[in-house]
């Protein structure tokens, strides 16, 4: 489970949604809090299903939550 190239905005989105706790998000998505921690740290790449569940919990689209790090680098340049 090395660091993944899939990055995300979960931490930012949690704070934008009334400082939602990791526990709360984990409960909504049906995963453990430690999985949310690993996702936020960029240590774990979620399955497509989990990515959709997380996006749904925030009322966002998947590509608003997750992105390919190369794409972010390209955007910055």
């Amino acid at each position: 489970m090395s660091a993944t190239l899939i990055s995300n905005q979960i931490r930012r989105l949690r704070f934008e949604h009334g400082e939602m706790t990791q526990e709360n998000l984990a409960g909504r998505c049906g995963v453990t809090r430690q999985t949310i921690i690993a996702l936020e740290a960029g240590k774990y790449a979620p399955s497509l299903e989990l990515a959709f569940r997380i996006a749904h919990a925030f009322g966002s689209r998947v590509d608003d939550v997750f992105f390919w790090q190369e794409a972010q680098r390209t955007k910055r340049h």
Binding site: M1, S2, E23, A26, G27, G30, V31, T32, R33, Q34, T35, I37, A38, E40, A41, K43, Y44, P46, S47, E49, L50
Partner: protein, 206 residues
Amino acid sequence: MSQRNGWVLVFGIASVSLGLMYLAPDSPGIFAAGSLGSAGLLLSIWSGLYLWSRLPASTARIAAPGERQALIALCATVLIAAYFGWTLYRIGANVDLHEQEARAMGRVISLMVIAWLVFATIQRRRESGVVDDERDRSIRASACNASHTVLVLALIAAILLLGFLPHALAATTTPLLIAHGLIGALILSGLVEHATSLVLYRRDRA
């Protein structure tokens, strides 16, 4: 009694009981040391489980439920491996099914496995919320993969060893000794599986 004193007492009883079981597994008499040791070990196991169930849940929340299970499994497997290895070392190459020490080894390992299963079940029941998700399944799959690889390598090594042993040494190899070697390979693969799980869980932490 405080939690700390309770744990010290439990470990003390467990050590004395294991000593009694190891020193005199089948000594005759009303106060047979082996039976006394078995009773003491059971008492220490149940006392340990009681103390564990009294621990506040918040003390163990850094690790995922799956990681806690992997830690319990690794501790149990290390104990079993240490006991198995040490007993085999003491018995030597002349393993015999009717030997008291070999029979006692089977009993002690069975008790250890039962204690592990009970402990793991109680721990699982103490968990609240989601206890198993796709990350746990992915880690378990990687750990099983590593364990399978080690088992296959150990078996290939054993086959090569048996095939290329000098005739004098091969003559001393009994089927029972080979069977114990295979049990050892299984224990080794279990160790690798639980250790790999723990490493993968730790690597996932921020």
